[in-house]
Symmetry: C2
Subunit: 244 residues, 2 copies
């Protein structure tokens, strides 16, 4: 048995998310189907994280065990004309037997792209969230700084989601700007359902003067999803890197 | 009556091209439908050029006559939440009555994007042509230079297409490279059906050693579509600018 690790890029636009589902097109489902074609095995892929419908990935990671003799580093070439064009294996390699894409991860980096021009641009729309309003970047920066550290993030969790541990640590929350494009880079140990999208929505609403900065102190004590900002759209979100 | 000029960006992926068709989703059809909602008029849009299915535009131009009192420069704002997200009006203005998007044009600039990395990248796939083969850029440049000037371009016209004038002038054919992304910028007075895509396919095939450079002399005398390169995919093509 070999343990093979994939680094995966996908355009989430036409996927119902990462996780395999019986009647929906998912990234996991599509890769497993392609692996069946080249290995003849029913592979069970383990993904580092389950991205939602419409969310993109530049560096999603997954691993699987196989009896196939295909060398680990050859999968990326073997799959390149088999996979649909909206998923690509940007790297593949054989790894140690105890590597587990989810449990071995020590953190993740997400990127959230916001287009702040007054007029939307069609070629950017599936790849950034359209927010054509004035933002005070000083205020936005002060908001991002407050997130750093360990907090009860239950105010930043999708309603109805469950988690046995709502305490998460944010290590980095940076802002990069290039003209009207604003990117938020968030690194943390672990994330709750919709956490990055609600963090982005709350931080940007603070920057736009729609939520007072001081409210973050309340939010970061947990349990107040009702006072946090909106869940920004999946089209702006990228799983950029999984850390090991 | 006002004559209104639009500059239009669109993601061609989910369109059956520019030109209105009864049962297909087209850029022209979608804009006319949105204009009906805000003006109450059945508008007849005149586009500078008819792009094919899957072809993108950054600077398509169109004009139309209307009795509506909406000021020309307001259309871009009025339409921004009415149009589907894959079309956007990046500029709108009232112009002189004798402006005609097609007949007034003095030239067009197209951009053709080719991704030459060995492995495809999902997030680039609808926006560039995947060509994972070695290119001799010196040879490619010599090919592009031969196109400059006026020639019979019938070797670079879609089979079955018709044109009363196959003599066209290419003013510029530049190469821009950024890592594995190669962009061809082509400016000409006018273009035949599929002409840019066949020019890109032929120039790149020469650079890749699949077609001898000398064959261009024959091709540019006209009538030899059979000896030219392939029609590269619509996903790499952008109508960048219409010149007036």
């Amino acid at each position: 048995m070999k343990n093979v690790k994939f680094t995966i890029e996908y355009d989430g636009t036409n996927f119902a998310g990462w996780q395999r589902q019986v009647s929906e097109r998912t990234v996991e489902g599509v890769i497993e189907k392609s692996l069946y074609k080249i290995t003849g095995e029913r592979i069970d892929l383990v993904g580092a994280g389950r991205t939602d419908a419409g969310v993109h990935a530049i560096g999603q990671v997954a691993n699987f065990f196989t009896k196939s003799t295909i060398p680990g580093e050859k999968y990326k070439y073997a799959l390149r004309f088999i996979l649909p064009t909206d998923v690509s294996i940007v790297d593949s390699e054989e790894v140690d037997k105890d590597f587990h894409a989810r449990f071995s991860a020590t953190g993740k980096i997400y990127r959230y792209r916001i287009y702040t021009g007054r007029l939307p641009k069609a070629l950017l729309r599936p790849y950034s969230f359209f927010f054509p309003f004035r933002i005070d970047y000083n205020l936005l920066e002060r908001a991002t700084e407050k997130f750093i550290g360990q907090h009860d993030f239950s105010s930043f969790m999708a309603r109805g989601a469950n988690s046995h541990n709502v305490f998460k640590t944010i290590r980095r929350f940076d802002i990069e700007r290039d003209g009207d494009m604003v990117e938020l880079i968030i690194e943390g140990d672990n994330f709750l359902r919709n956490m990055v999208r609600i963090m982005a929505g709350t931080a940007v609403y603070i920057g736009a003067g729609r939520i007072p900065l001081e409210r973050l102190d309340t939010l970061l004590k947990g349990g107040r999803r009702d006072l946090a900002g909106p869940t920004f759209g999946p089209e702006g979100l990228y799983l950029e890197k999984v850390l090991y």
